[in-house]
Symmetry: C2
Subunit: 383 residues, 2 copies
């Protein structure tokens, strides 16, 4: 414990300002001063420093109202800090370069089938694709965030298991650090989805929120008191492997009746009378064609979705649950019905005056954006 | 944001030292200096200040080893700060005065039957009993911590519902603040149990732990990254109302097949072939008499216990689960068997290399100690 020196105070203020611009986007000096509780001369000094370093640009706002000199608009410069975001899914992988402020500056994606899904192939392809993208755009990332649908140790990025990719004990963090020559943070995909919702999506301003997503598997990420929860050693949120149906189908995790086996992609296909491993587009198209018929086809599926959400809300007491991925293709009426039932059946929701249950609106980029945010966590403090 | 001034640094160091003495007990000046990363002259100054204020006493340790002057032993003085702890259970209520360092200085308890269980009666009895205890001991509490088996809003201590007490919307915090004329913090009993385990029990040193307890109902408290989790508005941890058996018994919460209905007191009585609302002592005696027969009688009961624990571990990824209350009366062999099965069936436990599942060893005082710790949170900083 030492006394905070003036340069430490300045660094703290600069870093708060950077975070605000990164998550909130362009703002006037006056708005920044209010948001940070700093006086205008301190803001001026900080912004001048950032302008000199090329991190922000200042402009006179186009629609200056009233008399007097308008407050200058401070714009984050995306190229001031660029990170590599990598989203490894079961059927495909995607990468993007994301700039300061959260804008995707360029991207690439490819399918994963057969041998392409093996760790060696994925790592090589990520490295090559990232190098090409960086060259094309003339940008150099300073860190990388990577998400996979698996059980990940946050400390070093070891993928303990990613069953739907058939991966076990892959030192993904360490290997990518070597080939990319960058700091790399690896996380579970639902966890990073939760981070994206918290920073840029439906979860902004919600201190306690749960993000639940269905892809091939079902996963979750938890925001508690404004921060992403991490279990012991960073293992957390295998919400999809909560037992909801004792004596039910055997799950790949070795247990039976997991929530994932009742509300994951395969379960949705069964509810729709489709083959279990059809392409994602066909499932979404089938859901769109249900129109008013969803009540007949999805009744049992929605009952299991409701049951799991009642549990999640009772255990974690969030004010908001965001449904991602395949869940976003469910009819709005179906999601509204699930919400009503969860609010009625969960005693914690009743105490809270009603938990909100919403679909993610960040679209297919959700996990890329989350991976980028995980990478930015270490970057903004250094900028 | 201002620069930390020397007196702020001193206050911060003093408060860290107080917390260390409160949770760790007597220690030499040398050990305190090491634990806090402070030099010996700073420790001397701080301890001298605390001695002057009567918060600690210094003694020459009885077994001073080696040559040279022995490091003085610093002893927390219990009467330097006393809090009132209140534990309202379904069948009885208890109060205690707890001193700085966590020692119970005196206590009182009474049964709750019929009208005695009504909020008015409980509040009056707590106030009278606390006044008598304080007078007998010649002590004056400076804050109170109160736990109830219910859904509690932490911000103001509103008990939204405590079904097993038949309470609904009781402004317990506000009413006790008025009659006791003290700052009062109210929480769920399992939540405060978790706090006690974290500060003084099996959870010491475990950054991520879950505490699950069975009384009439089943509840849980969650420690994540070293702190007690609170859901939105402080509603959290209704782990007992996770559905484990769809289509199962109707629970008082309005849902069906809750974990509480399968592993709570009534379920244990059914498993033992006893009437459902017998006295606690009879249940414990019956469990003790099982000896090797527990496998036959408790098989199904333990299966439900295992199933719920697999879920808790998969969702929250703790390194440790502490079983409290009625669970502590289960045969050691039964708990060991449950632990083995949870470690085998939970994928997160496998990733972690095996979650530990242990009985609480804090005994019947667990929740009183937790309520005291909740009260001390606001007190230590002011001492």
């Amino acid at each position: 414990m030492t006394v905070a020196r003036p340069d430490e105070v300045r660094r703290f203020n600069r870093s708060s300002l950077l975070r605000l611009l990164h998550t909130g986007g362009p703002a006037t000096r006056a708005a920044l001063a209010t948001a940070l509780g700093l006086n205008r001369s301190t803001i001026k000094m900080l912004v001048d420093g950032l302008t000199e370093d090329g991190v922000v640009e200042e402009k006179v706002p186009r629609m200056a109202r009233g008399a007097g000199r308008p407050s200058l608009l401070v714009l984050p410069q995306p190229q001031a800090a660029v990170v590599l975001a990598v989203d490894v899914q079961v059927e495909h992988a995607g990468i993007a370069l994301v700039g300061f402020g959260g804008q995707i500056l360029g991207r690439n994606s490819w399918n994963l089938r057969g041998r392409q899904r093996e760790p060696d192939e994925v790592i090589t392809h990520v490295a090559e694709s990232a190098a090409m993208l960086a060259q094309d755009l003339g940008l150099r990332p300073v860190a990388a965030g990577v998400c996979v649908p698996g059980v990940v140790r946050r400390a070093d990025g070891l993928v303990h298991t990613a069953a739907n990719l058939c991966w076990g004990e892959v030192a993904l963090g360490q290997r990518l650090r070597t080939v990319l020559d960058l700091p790399v943070v690896v996380g579970n995909d639902a966890e990073f989805g939760a981070l994206a919702e918290h920073v840029r999506g439906a979860g902004r301003g919600a201190a306690d929120a749960v993000f639940v997503s269905a892809d091939v598997g079902v996963g979750g990420g938890l925001i508690a008191q404004g921060a992403l929860l991490r279990g012991s050693a960073g293992y957390l949120g295998e919400i999809g492997h909560m037992t909801v149906r004792p004596g039910g189908r055997i799950c790949h995790c070795g247990n039976e009746g997991c929530w994932e086996t009742e509300v994951g992609e395969a379960a949705l296909c069964r509810a729709l009378g489709m083959p279990e491993h059809g392409p994602r587009g066909a499932i979404v198209a089938e859901l769109l064609e249900l129109h008013g018929d969803w009540e007949t086809h999805l009744r049992e599926y929605l009952d299991w979705l409701t049951l799991g959400l009642v549990n999640v809300v009772n255990i974690l007491g969030p004010e908001l649950v965001v449904l991602g991925d395949l869940f976003t293709a469910l009819p709005d009426g179906a999601v509204a019905r699930v919400g009503e039932q969860v609010r009625r059946r969960s005693m914690v929701s009743r105490a809270l005056g009603g938990v909100r249950i919403e679909k993610s609106r960040l679209g297919a980029d959700l996990k890329l954006l989350g991976a980028a945010e995980a990478a930015f966590e270490g970057v903004l403090a250094m900028l």
